[in-house]
C-alpha cells in the first residue's frame, strides 16, 4: 500500500516537472520570436479558420447551455406566487419599475395631452364656437419622447461633427479632424450634456412623486414638475457660465509648440529632448528598419539592436556609436523617418560642450584619461 503511494507521488512529481519544463521552453521560444519579428515570418502566421473550428466549437457550447436551460425549465420550475386578482383595488403607493427605467416612467408621467385651442369666437360676425384640436394623447406622446431621447443618444456619433461644422466653422476641418473634447474648450456641448444628465435624474425623481408624497407631503407634484422643467436648464446655464468664465481666464487649447514645450519641460520621465524625437512618433513599428540594419544583422542580436534600443530609451553608449549611418533604415521606412539624422543629433547631443584639448596626436591610453572615459554632466 505504502509502495504504491510512493510510486504515485513520483509519477505526479515527474508530470509536474515536465509541465514546468514545457512552460519554460514556451517562454523562451516566445522571447526568441519577439526578437526576430521578421516581416516574412509574420506573414506566415495564420489564425484558426472559422469553419470548421470555431463553428463546431460554438455549436457545442450553444447546445450545452441550451441543455442546461432545458433541464432547469423542465425539472426545477420557478416558484410562482398566487395568481393575480383583477378585482383587487389599486395599490398605493403604486408599484415601480426598476431604477434604471424610472426615467422612462417619468416621461409617461410628465406627458400631458397635446391640444391646440383655436379661439374662433374672437372672429366677429361668424358666430363660431371655440375648437380644441386634439393632437396627441399623453400616452403616445410620452412613449414617443422615450424613443426620441434614445434616438438622440444613438445619433450623436453621426451628427456630432456635422453639427460642429455648422456651429463653429472657424474652428477648421471639424468633419475630418474632430473637435475639442475637453469640457473647458467646448462649454456649449458640456452644457448640453449636463442638461441631459440632470433631465434624466429629475425625470426619475418625478416618476416616484407618489412615493415621495407619502413621506414628505410638502413636496407636491407641482413643485416636482417645476423642478423637472427648470432644474436641468438651470444646471446647464450654470455649467456654461462657469466653463466660459474659466476659458476667458486663459484656459485656452494648446498649440503644437505649447504641447511640445509641455512634453519637454513638464514631463521629465520621457526625456524628450529634441523635436526629432517628437517626429519618431510617426513610427508604427513595422520593424523593416530593424530587419535590414546591417549592424544588427552582423553582430549583437541583443546588445547592438540599435533601433530597438532607441525605442526603449537606451539610445546611448555602445549602440549609439555602433551605428554606421548607412541609411538603410531610412530607405526602407514607409513613413520616411530619417533615422540617421536622429543618430547624428543624438551624437551631437552626447558630446555637447566637450573639449578638443588633447585630441590631437596623443596615443590612446596614454595620459591621465583612459580610453573610453566619458564624463557626462547630468
Amino acid at each position: 500500500m505504502s509502495e504504491e503511494k510512493i510510486l504515485e507521488d513520483d509519477a505526479s512529481e515527474m508530470i509536474a516537472e515536465s509541465i514546468q519544463e514545457q512552460q519554460e521552453l514556451d517562454t523562451i521560444r516566445k522571447l526568441e520570436n519577439r526578437e526576430e519579428h521578421s516581416v516574412l515570418e509574420a506573414s506566415l502566421v495564420k489564425g484558426e479558420p472559422l469553419y470548421p473550428h470555431e463553428l463546431s466549437r460554438d455549436t457545442v457550447y450553444t447546445f450545452y447551455v441550451l441543455s442546461i436551460m432545458f433541464y432547469l425549465g423542465a425539472f426545477v420550475p420557478p416558484p410562482l406566487h398566487e395568481s393575480a386578482d383583477p378585482t383587487a383595488g389599486t395599490a398605493y403607493p403604486p408599484p415601480l419599475p426598476d431604477w434604471y427605467l424610472l426615467w422612462a416612467f417619468g416621461c409617461l408621467k410628465v406627458a400631458t395631452d397635446l391640444k391646440i385651442g383655436l379661439p374662433l369666437s374672437m372672429i366677429p360676425f361668424l358666430g363660431l364656437d371655440d375648437i380644441e384640436l386634439f393632437l396627441m394623447s399623453a400616452k403616445v406622446w410620452g412613449t414617443l419622447v422615450q424613443g426620441l431621447i434614445v434616438g438622440l443618444v444613438v445619433a450623436v456619433p453621426f451628427i456630432d461633427r456635422a453639427l460642429g461644422a455648422v456651429i463653429d466653422p472657424q474652428y477648421g476641418d471639424v468633419i475630418n479632424r474632430g473637435h475639442e473634447r475637453r469640457p473647458i474648450e467646448d462649454p456649449v456641448r458640456a452644457a448640453i450634456g449636463v442638461y441631459g444628465i440632470a433631465m434624466v435624474i429629475m425625470l426619475s425623481v418625478f416618476s416616484i412623486n407618489a412615493n415621495i408624497a407619502l413621506y414628505y407631503p410638502e413636496v407636491t407634484t407641482d413643485l416636482l414638475y417645476a423642478l423637472t422643467l427648470w432644474g436641468p436648464i438651470a444646471c446647464a446655464l450654470i455649467t456654461y457660465l462657469f466653463l466660459d468664465r474659466r476659458r476667458s481666464e486663459g484656459a485656452k487649447p494648446l498649440s503644437d509648440e505649447e504641447r511640445f514645450d509641455l512634453y519637454t519641460k513638464g514631463i521629465q520621465d520621457r526625456r524628450m529632448q529634441r523635436i526629432y524625437e517628437f517626429k519618431l512618433n510617426r513610427c508604427y513599428q513595422c520593424g523593416l528598419c530593424d530587419d535590414i540594419c546591417p549592424v544588427r544583422d552582423m553582430e549583437g542580436e541583443h546588445e547592438l539592436n540599435i533601433i530597438f534600443n532607441t525605442f526603449q530609451n537606451k539610445h546611448d553608449g555602445v549602440a549609439l556609436w555602433s551605428c554606421i549611418s548607412c541609411g538603410m533604415c531610412t530607405a526602407v521606412c514607409p513613413q520616411n523617418i530619417e533615422y540617421v539624422d536622429y543618430v547624428l543629433e543624438q551624437r551631437l547631443l552626447a558630446t555637447l560642450g566637450a573639449s578638443t584639448e588633447g585630441a590631437n596626436l596623443d596615443l590612446p591610453g596614454t595620459g591621465s584619461t583612459p580610453v573610453g572615459g566619458v564624463a557626462y554632466e547630468r
Partner: protein
C-alpha cells in the same frame, strides 16, 4: 583621486585613425591668410582629404591597404579636362577637410571650425559650381553646409558633372563590372543613375547589378571612419561575397572610403589565405576606372 571633475575627452573614445587626428590638428589651427585664385573658374573641384588618407594608408601599420587615393584626384581632374571643363582645384593647401567625419562623430566644434574656414575660402574663390569625387563631401556640402541656399553655389558629384557630356570610353579588355552604391551618394542624396550611365558609356565593360543595389545597397561598413572591427568587417565581407556571386572582375565605388576599405579587406584576405576567404576581383574607384578607359590621350 583629485577633486577636479574629469574633463570630457570624447575624442579619445572613438578610435581615431591617424589622419583624423591630423585633420583635427589642421582644423584647430585658425591662422589663415588672404587667398585669391589666379583667374576665374566656373567649376571648382574638391578632392577632399585624399592626401591625409594616403598618409593613413601608407604610414600606419594598422591596415593592410595600399590604395592610392591621390590617383582619384588626378583621374578626376583629367576626366574634367577631357570633358572640356577647367576646374579650380580646391586642394588642401588652401582648403580644409569638409568635416563630414567630424560631424558624424559628434565632433561639432571641429566641424564648425572647418566649415567656417571652407565657407570663407569658397566666398573668396568665386566659383559657381563645386564638384566632388567623394560622396561624403558631396552630401556635406549640399546638406550640412547648405551651399545652394547660403552661397548660391551648386553642388555636384563628379559623376553628375560628367554625365551627358558625350564622353566615350573603351575598356582595354572585356571586363564585368558592378557598381557599389555609396550610402551618402545613393540613399542620402538619391543619385543612382549618373554613375551607372557613365559605366554604360564604356565600350567593352559589362555592368551587372549586385544582389543588393540602389536603395537596398549594403554599406561598406566604415562611413565616417567610426570603427574597423569584426562587425564592420562582416558587413564588408557580405558585400564582397555578393560581388563573387555576381561573377565580376571589378567592383567600382563612388566614394574613396568605400574604395579604401574594400581594397584593404581584399588585401588582407590575400595576405591570410589560410582563413579561406577569397574574392577574385579588384576594387577600384569609378574615376580610376574611367581614366584607364580613355580612348585617346589629350
Amino acid at each position: 583621486m583629485s577633486d577636479k571633475p574629469r574633463q570630457k575627452t570624447y575624442a579619445r573614445t572613438i578610435p581615431h585613425p591617424l589622419f583624423e587626428r591630423l585633420i583635427v590638428d589642421d582644423a584647430m589651427n585658425k591662422e589663415s591668410n588672404e587667398w585669391k585664385p589666379e583667374r576665374y573658374h566656373e567649376y571648382g573641384y574638391f578632392p577632399g582629404c585624399v592626401d591625409f588618407m594616403d598618409v593613413e594608408v601608407k604610414f600606419t601599420h594598422l591596415n593592410k591597404g595600399d590604395a592610392d587615393h591621390a590617383s582619384i584626384a588626378a583621374a578626376s581632374i583629367k576626366l574634367l579636362n577631357y570633358a572640356d571643363i577647367d576646374p579650380l582645384v580646391l586642394d588642401m593647401n588652401v582648403f580644409k577637410c569638409s568635416g563630414h567625419d567630424q560631424l558624424w562623430q559628434g565632433n561639432l566644434e571641429v566641424f564648425d571650425a572647418l566649415k567656417e574656414h571652407n565657407l570663407k575660402r569658397l566666398k573668396e574663390s568665386g566659383i559657381k559650381i563645386i564638384t566632388c569625387s567623394c560622396a561624403e563631401c558631396y552630401r556635406t556640402f549640399a546638406v550640412d553646409y547648405d551651399l545652394p541656399n547660403t552661397l548660391g553655389i551648386k553642388v555636384e558629384h563628379i559623376t553628375q558633372t560628367l554625365q551627358g557630356r558625350g564622353l566615350k570610353f573603351k575598356a582595354p579588355e572585356n571586363v564585368t563590372v558592378a557598381y557599389h552604391d555609396p550610402c551618402r551618394l545613393g540613399r542620402m542624396m538619391g543619385e543612382y543613375e549618373a554613375p551607372r550611365d557613365l559605366i554604360q558609356l564604356v565600350d567593352g565593360a559589362t555592368m551587372v547589378e549586385l544582389e543588393n543595389n540602389k536603395e537596398r545597397a549594403l554599406c561598406c561598413g566604415v562611413s565616417s571612419m567610426m570603427y574597423c572591427n569584426d562587425a564592420t568587417k562582416a558587413v564588408r565581407r557580405k558585400r564582397l561575397d555578393q560581388g563573387t556571386d555576381a561573377g565580376i572582375d571589378l567592383m567600382l565605388g563612388g566614394c574613396p572610403k568605400c574604395y579604401m576599405h574594400m581594397q584593404c579587406m581584399l588585401n588582407e584576405e590575400r595576405m591570410n589565405p589560410e582563413e579561406g576567404h577569397h574574392h577574385d576581383y579588384e576594387m577600384m574607384d569609378l574615376m580610376q576606372f574611367l581614366v584607364a578607359c580613355l580612348e585617346d590621350e589629350k
